[in-house]
């Protein structure tokens, strides 16, 4: 997988999350809490993890699910495995 620049990564991840959580991408700020602000549940977190893996052809361990709590953390997690 070729390296993705930071802006593209953020845009792509925001779109992935928006599609799963079914909200407008603009509402997903870097720090908006997925659970408290966006109404996400644990299975949506699993779907986000699966979508990240599929899009970037990476493998993220199940234990990292807890890190899927806001966009900033998702970007950090993705970069860790790219």
């Amino acid at each position: 997988m070729p390296k993705v620049d930071d802006l593209t990564l953020e845009k792509e991840l925001r779109e992935i999350i928006a599609k799963i959580v079914e909200i407008e991408p603009e509402k997903i700020t870097q720090d908006a809490s997925f659970v408290e602000d966006l109404g996400m549940d644990s299975m949506m977190a699993l779907e986000i993890l699966a979508a990240m893996e599929k899009k970037y052809k990476i493998q993220v361990p199940e234990e990292k699910l807890g890190q899927i709590k806001n966009l900033k953390e998702v970007i950090k997690l993705t970069k860790e495995y790219l």
């Binding site: 644990s42 299975m43 699993l46 779907e47 699910l65």
Partner: protein, 140 residues
């Protein structure tokens, strides 16, 4: 091959809601192939629909979910969960399924964990895809 008795030992669904007759192929953690024979003897055809018996799309989705449960149970051996709840289903249906059809189910794992799984799901009859989509379910 996994027969109905073994399927029953893996998932909690029973008559009249066991939607798999046989598993023909399974690769742990990756995919499963199974089928359901659709028979005119099934009770719900009296109402769905009286003049044109049609296998309900919701039951196609259920058959897919049950196959995914079998795959999960066979892949994670010590999984304590006994109940499975669908949390997301996005399926497009392309053609109707009628009595006499053999519904072939193919499930591919996208992500599988002890909490649940994300799967790509597909059903076909005579090698023609009748339904296709994505499904997520939780284990309890």
């Amino acid at each position: 091959m996994i027969d109905t008795e073994e399927i029953k030992s893996l998932i909690p669904q029973r008559f009249p809601f066991l939607m798999l007759d046989r598993v023909t192929e399974l690769k742990e953690g990756e995919y499963i192939k199974a089928y359901k024979n659709v028979s005119i003897n099934e009770e719900y055809f009296k109402g769905h629909f009286p003049e044109a018996p049609t296998f309900p799309g919701a039951f196609i989705a259920e058959a897919m979910a049950q196959a995914a449960c079998v795959l999960l149970k066979k892949s994670i051996k010590d999984l304590a969960a006994t109940k499975f709840y669908v949390t997301s289903v996005k399926i497009r249906f392309f053609r109707i399924v009628v009595p006499g059809d053999q519904l072939q189910i193919f499930i591919k794992t996208v992500k599988m964990t002890r909490l649940g799984g994300v799967f790509e799901v597909e059903a076909s009859v005579d090698k023609t895809v009748v339904a296709k989509g994505d499904m997520t379910f939780a284990c309890k």
